[in-house]
Amino acid sequence: MGLKIKSRTLNLSHDIPVERLKPYWEGLSKGVLMATRCETCGVAFYPPQVDCSQCLSSDNIKWVEAGETGTLVTFTESHLKPQGFEQYAGNYIIAVVETNKGLKVAGWVIDAAIEQLQVGDRVGISTAILSDGFPSIRFTPIKPE
């Protein structure tokens, strides 16, 4: 190993202005996952956006619920902890779910082991604020009756 020197530290921490997306971020703390829909052309957006990229209108955007249940489209258990996620114990399961409203959303599967999961499984969708203040989208497996 040859000579190395330390760089000057650069800390990047952003204050993100999400005022226009307030219903989404408020929904996360109330347990409801929100999306938007353009009433002019009918296109639904998840993630939500307040301008319609299809008809270029921003006048008729309505906030709608993204769904309360859905099916697992795909999932992975991450054994990596990127910077900013070191505080969470254990691995976490990232999944994409197709909701009962026909939108695809991404979140964490909770209350399940990776071995128990299969593509197509039904899940309930909820949200929560974690102890460190960050929001979380949660999928909980629904056991077949």
Binding site: K4, P47, T76, H79, L80, P82, V96, S136
Partner: protein, 387 residues
């Protein structure tokens, strides 16, 4: 469109390069490319630097790279397209020549990724989708993004962990024959299958290494090739491009990359060839599942059959369409900005018949490079024709 040729290629050693800073590694590739082309800096009109740079202490790395390599008066542009940065830089330089804005250009792809720690590099990569809706809440990594594709592909088509391991074994086999590759040893199926899980179902040996490295190619117009008598030109017959959503949840499915399909269609149409004419290819195997999906997306086989042509050895030397004979991203390494340029380095050597024991048999003199940006939000497919 006026014809553009690759007239010189260079490639640094890939891997963990604790021995050098970014511009020194770029220089290794630039010197080799200039010497290969038998041209000096003063005969190059334009330098296009491809570097992602988000792990660098240099906020704007192109300037220092150009200075160090003798192109301080030739480098007005830095190009970024995530992991497809190298191909985007090639596209930019190619188009500059094709439209007559330059007669000659150098494309320098360079990346230093190992100077920050693993949680930091994981976080930078994990922010490669759409931050607010993905990394912020999910803690994505790049492995996790491709793992989501792997789970779906395996569920739908019966692709197995052994199939993923086969890609890794193949990559290591050829990397061991490539002195510029990161990994210099072969591995066995068990090594791959028994390696630790990174993002299920992807294990350590399913993932390309975090790497440093550089590659450079010199391009010239047909006119310049003729007038300067440049040797063994490899012609760029097409550069097709495609794109898809940055938000993963806005994709229709997770078993292939629409960006690749569209880029390939454009490239085949422009070059007026089909996949059956391709003698040798480099595909974007940042994770093993990506190579299997690439076979399908590029039309080497129907969707879902990637595992079958892999099992049958069709993508090995002697097979129907040898793929990643340089070791691929998986085993050669994947320094983001360098990768697409390094693919052209490899295929130029192949088309000139200079690849030694890794040489593919040339029937049609056609090679294909496939380079994906991010988790599939961009892709470039380049078709090259030998001298």
């Amino acid at each position: 469109m006026p014809k553009v040729a690759v007239v010189g290629v260079g490639n640094s050693r890939f891997g963990r390069r604790d021995d050098a800073i970014l511009q020194e590694i770029a220089f290794e590739a630039v010197r080799e490319a200039l010497q290969d082309a038998d041209l000096s800096q003063k005969e190059i009109d334009l330098s296009v630097v491809g570097t992602v740079g988000s792990r660098s202490y240099e906020a704007l790395p192109a300037g220092p790279i150009n200075d160090y390599c003798g192109f301080s008066d030739k480098g007005p542009i830095r190009v970024e397209a995530a992991c497809a940065t190298g191909s985007a830089a090639l596209f930019t330089a190619h188009n500059s020549i094709a439209c007559g804005a330059a007669d000659t250009a150098i494309v320098i792809g360079a990346e230093k990724m190992t100077e920050v720690d693993i949680p930091t590099t994981t976080a930078v990569g994990g922010r490669g989708g759409s931050y607010l809706w993905e990394f912020h809440m999910l803690g994505t990594s790049f492995a996790a993004y491709y793992a989501l594709y792997a789970t779906r592909h395996m569920s739908k088509f019966g692709t197995t962990p052994e199939d993923l391991a086969r890609v890794s074994v193949k990559g290591h086999k050829y990397a061991a024959m490539n002195p510029k590759a990161c990994f210099q040893k072969e591995i066995k199926m068990e090594d791959a299958l028994n390696s630790k899980v990174i993002a299920s179902p992807l294990k350590l040996y399913d993932c390309c290494p975090v790497s440093d490295g550089a590659a450079a190619v010199v391009l010239a117009s047909e006119d310049k090739v003729r007038k300067a008598g440049l040797k063994d030109p490899v012609w760029i017959d097409a550069i097709g491009y495609g794109a898809d959503t940055s938000n993963l949840t806005r994709r229709s499915d997770y078993v292939g990359l629409n960006a690749s399909v569209n880029a390939a269609k454009m490239a085949y149409d422009t070059a007026k060839v089909g996949p059956e004419k391709v003698d040798v290819a480099t595909v974007h195997d940042c994770f093993t599942i990506a190579e299997i999906m690439a076979y399908e997306d590029l039309g080497f086989c129907p969707k879902g059959k990637g595992k079958d042509i892999l099992r049958d050895g069709e993508t090995e030397i002697g097979g129907r369409i040898p793929v990643n004979l340089d070791g691929g991203l998986k085993a050669k390494g994947h320094p983001l900005g360098a990768t697409g340029v390094s693919m052209v380095y490899e295929l130029t050597k192949q088309l000139r018949g200079e690849s030694g024991k890794r040489q593919a048999r040339l029937r049609n003199n056609i090679a294909l490079a496939h380079n994906v940006g991010g988790h599939g939000f961009s892709a470039y497919v380049t078709i090259l024709r030998g001298p």
